[in-house]
Each structure stands twice: as structure tokens, then as C-alpha cells.
Amino acid sequence: MGNVNAIKVYVPRDSSALSLGADRTAKAIAAEAEKRGIDIQLVRNGSRGLFWLEPFVEVATEKGRVAYAPVQPNDVPALFDADFLNAHSEKAVAHPLNLGLTEELTWLKNQQRLTFARVGITDPVSLEDYLAHDGYKGLANALKLTGADIVKTVTDSGLRGRGGAAFPTGIKWKTVLDTKSEQKYIVCNADEGDSGTYSDRMIMEDDPFVLIEGMTIAGIAVGATQGYIYLRSEYPHALKILNEAIDKAKGAGYLGENICGSQHAFNLEVRRAAGAYVCGEETSLLESLEGKRGLVRFKPPLPAIEGLFGKPTVVNNVISLATIPIILDKGAQFYADYGMGRSRGTLPIQLAGNIKHGGLVELAFGATLRDLLYGFGGGSATGRPIRAVQVGGPLGAFLPESQFDTPLDYEEFGKIWAVLGHGGIVAFDDSVDMAKMARYAFEFCAIESCGKCTPCRIGSVRGVEVIDKIIAGTEYNKNMQLVRDLSDTMLNGSLCALGGMTPYPVLSALNHFAEDFSPRGSGLNNQLQNQEKAKAA
């Protein structure tokens, strides 16, 4: 297999690809090649993000990579029979799994991949591959700038926090830069708790060096020499890959003392979280990193001023940090030229739930939900109408069809009392029971509440009870009013957005899908009858 002329065959190692059997496919290809005495070079790349087509196999050709997908182990002998390694041959082209050149697939061609430029293309743990695909160009530029100039570039790019709160990254960095301290920290929030999101996971598993580079630049910009990646414990593959990439970066002088021969030092360590959703909230995260329970801290002081171990700390989401290298490489204006209004650049959108073509779509801000759901997404997986979508995770609002033309833009979503959050879009078909979803929102808040403030700790538990009463038809009007009062209390009285935003899914369900909240068994509820029919079908 050491032959450099051997044909390269790519089989992803991303967890979603693995979850659909990519390892078995890779093994079958290697075994069949050996059996037939054919020399191949098997590369375990990241995923291109077309998850409905995983395992997504590619073969390198002089015209570019040709895709075959989805490939199950039992497809493999037939692929060899069809001479699939000679991907432009008549027989190979005629094979039903041959999709042609990957780069020509409309699903990919219609995207603007900036943060995800390399994802699916490179071998995630190959530093050589990273360097060959524009890796560490951003750092090279950053090393020529002062901290203040790096911060200015980030500010001018218009990048806003991709964790969900959309606070301008450059302004946050400036606060840390301007706060005098011997010790400062860069903390990457890799807790990715939101249901329907996986873009952080993909960056960490499929292009870990871009995150490492982004954090290194952040450290140089604000004068921090230590970084931590706080990684959710549900991502064991990401943990392995990050540690492997960190070791390689260290070995090659991209981490440690005197980075690339400069006076700058930056060290990086991955820390595992322990399954608490609230620890994605930045101050709870810092408590957890310090070895404590994840109780939310009062703000101010902001972490930028008093963060980890009381020191000035940049806390940024994986995507925010992974977007820094391309900004430093291509310039602030290049990035700011994408987008609409005050939402500059691109958003890695994650299509999830009941959707035919689920996967990662990176687009400039401004596309509509409908483009995503029906253009990229191809409608629901079940073929039934999409009735509701939840955007922005468990704390995001549910949107009905009448709002599907809203452009993806932080301010436009704000106007309809919804959030973009971390860019997750979860589709539900018409069998969804929105009262149940509202109940679940309260239930989730009750399970995950840190317990520090009453509106969240008690309100969420009460919320579950009240929705149960509404569903049962007990004192209907009184309890409907109670849900609204309870939501008001949580909105206004919670210390953090867990309690403070749980009313988004609850009230949006109530406002847009009121029919699902009518007492059950009243015979008046058409929607519920539809659901019964849908379930029976």
C-alpha cells in the first residue's frame, strides 16, 4: 500500500459517517482490493456533510474526486467489478452509485464554504494535508501583526459569536486585550449541547487544526498563553482526534514555546465536560473547568475581565474560533463581503430532524428557511408536509410554515421572536404534537437547571405539571393563563438563558400551534386526528 501511485480512495471517519457503517465500508474496500491484488491508498477523511449519502466514498482522478454514495459493504465487490477506481470509465460511470465529480454536486456547489473550506477534503490528522490546503496561513499573517491589529481585523470582519448569542468577537477580544494581567486564558466552548447541531463536532473531528490555529491566533492577539477546549463527554471521537492533532501541532512547533520561531507561546489542553447542558453557559463552564459544580455566575464581572481562575478570559464557540484563520488569511473585508445587514460572513447551518437531505450547509447569511428546508433539505424524510421547525436548539422558537420565508439573519429572526442560535434547524412533519414539544421544553429545563435561581428551578417543574393539566383539559383557561404567567416570570427573572429562553419554545408552540393545546378527546381537535392518521399510516 506504500505505492505513491496507488489510487487514493476516501472513506470518512466523521462520527456520523461511522454511525452509518463507514468503518465496515472502509474495511470491505481494503479487503477487496487486497483480494484482487489492487494497490490503493485508503484515506480516512472528514465528511463532506451530505449525511443522507454516508458512507460517502470518493476516488481521486486527474479531473478531481468522483463520489460513490452511499456505499454499503455489500456494494463493494460490484464496485470493483465496475472498475470504480477508474472512475471515468464507461463501466464506472454507469454504476448506479456513481454521482460524478464531488465538486460538481449542486448541494455543495450552492454553498459558500469558508469555515468549512477543508472539511471532508483533507485527512483530519495530517498536518501536511492541512498545510497543503492553506493551513496556518492565518497564523503566519497574525505573527506579523500587533495584538491590537489582529483584534481590529476580527472586529472589521463583523464576525459575531457563533455559539448563539452573536456578540461581536472582536469587541470581546478587545476587552481581554485591554485588561492588564500576567495570566490570561483562551477557552473554547465545545460543549455543543443544542439538539440539532453538530457543526462544532465536525470541525473538531474533520479539521481540528483549524480550531487549534484559531485559538493560537486568539492567544497571540490578547496575550494569553494557555488555552482549554471544554469538550462535551458525548464526543469521544472528537477527543481522540483533537489530542492527536494537538500532539502533531506541538511536535511541529505550532504550539508550545516560541511558536514558529516567534516570541509567542501558546499551550493547549482538552478538558472533558461531564454531561451537563448548563455547562455550555460560559460562566457555568468556567466553574466546571475550575473543578466545581456548574453553577452559573452572576455577570458582571464578564469572563473577559474576570474569567477562568479569576483571570481575563476569552470564551468563544468552536465555530467562532475556527473562522479566525480564514479571516486572518484572506482579510477582514473578504469575510465581511458575505452576508446581510449586521450578520456578516457565513453561518454553518445544520439540517436535522425529519428532513430528507440532512447535513451541513455553510451559507452567507440571508438565505431563507424555505431554501434550506426544501432546496437543500429536499422536504421531510417521511414525505409528509413540514409543519414546524425549531431553529437554535432547545431554547429556540418553533416556527410555522408562514415564517419559512424569514431570511437567516440575527436581526430578522429577532423580529419574529425567534433565534438563529448555533444554526441548528430541526424539522418536524405534521405528526408532531406541539403540546408535547412544549412540555418537553419545560422538562428539559427542569432536568438541566443548575438550581441557582427559582424561576428556572421551580418554574420548569411547574411548567410540566401545567401543560399536563392543559392536555388533560383540567381547568383549561386558568392553566393556559398560568403557562403564560410562568413564562413571563422565567423570561424576566432567570439568571441565565436556560431559564430565560425556555419560554421561546413554549410560547411559540402555544402561539403558532394553539390547536394542539385544546383538551384531548374533545373531538374538536383536527390536528390531533391528523396525527393519529399519520401514525397509523
Binding site: L18, F51, Q350, V426
Partner: protein, 165 residues
């Protein structure tokens, strides 16, 4: 609180292991979580009998250690089965029928969440998103994620797991 914790004793071998892990981690900044992870990875759970040695090494109270262990869903204070099956209960998986799957799994294993099958093979846990939402419904057996699950595929996974140690 402390007297509730001391009912369990560890055998010498396990205690040695725990002491070694404590020595290895105690000087890290924010050592407690990495230490608890290493203990759970090493012996499968965090025995309450560890609280005292941990608290001594990290200059914490036993109650503080207890508070941290119980705050995080990931840490268990009792041994689990040979395999851990986590079913995703979050929205994307719900949209693809995870509730039915969850009910089927519970009834076929004859256990509820946080319980272990009588043969000691499988402990069932809920999880809120595995980052595999484009392939819902998803679940995790030990460290491997599985997507687009149905009852039949889960049954195969479970019987494979039962057949391995």
C-alpha cells in the same frame, strides 16, 4: 453527609489505583473533573469511598466532592453493566420517532433508565443529543454512535453487546 458515604469500602487493589490517579492529577489546575473522569474510566464508576482521599488531596470537603459528582449526569456512584446504552431523547431524534424506539428498548430489556439488565450486560441511560442529528434517531453503545436506528437494528446491537465482555 459524610457518614452516609462511608458504608462502602474498597478493596486494596482498587484503592491503590485510585491513589495513583489522585497523585497523577492533583497538581493540575482545576483537577477535580479530570480526576473523576480518570477514576470512572479506570474502574467504571466513582465509588463514594473515594471522596475522602480525593478531598484530602485537593483540599476540599467531602461534601464538595460529593456535590460535584452528583451535579454531573456523566458520573455514576454505582457500578454499571458491561455496556452502556445511551438513547438520544432530544428534539431531532424525537422528530424521527425516538420515543417509540425508546419504549421498545425499555420493554425488550425489561428496564428503565439508570437501570441495568439482570444479566449485568447493559445499563440504559438517556442522553440529550449525540451530535448525530442528521441521522436521527441516534444512540450510543459505549463509545460508538449509531444512526438511523430502528428496533431491529437495536436488537442486533444488543445481542452483539450481550455476546461480548
Amino acid at each position: 453527609m459524610a457518614n452516609v458515604l462511608s458504608t462502602e469500602t474498597l478493596d486494596a487493589e482498587v484503592l491503590d489505583k485510585v491513589q495513583a490517579l489522585i497523585a497523577q492529577h492533583k497538581d493540575m489546575p482545576g483537577a477535580l473533573l479530570p480526576l473523576l473522569h480518570s477514576i470512572q474510566d479506570g474502574i467504571g464508576y466513582v465509588p463514594e469511598a473515594c471522596y475522602l482521599p480525593i478531598s484530602k488531596a485537593l483540599a476540599l470537603s467531602v461534601a464538595e466532592v460529593h456535590g460535584v459528582v452528583t451535579f454531573y449526569h456523566h458520573f455514576r456512584s454505582h457500578p454499571a453493566g458491561r455496556h452502556i446504552l445511551q438513547i438520544c431523547r432530544a428534539e431531532s431524534c424525537q422528530a424521527m420517532g425516538s420515543e417509540k424506539l425508546e419504549a421498545n428498548i425499555k420493554s425488550s430489556l425489561g428496564i428503565d433508565y439508570h437501570q441495568t439488565t439482570a444479566d449485568g450486560a447493559i445499563t440504559l441511560e438517556p442522553v440529550y443529543c449525540l451530535g448525530n442529528c442528521a441521522c436521527s434517531p441516534a444512540l450510543m453503545m459505549d463509545d460508538e454512535v449509531y444512526g438511523r436506528m430502528n428496533s431491529q437494528k437495536v436488537a442486533e446491537l444488543i445481542s452483539d453487546a450481550r455476546a461480548t465482555s
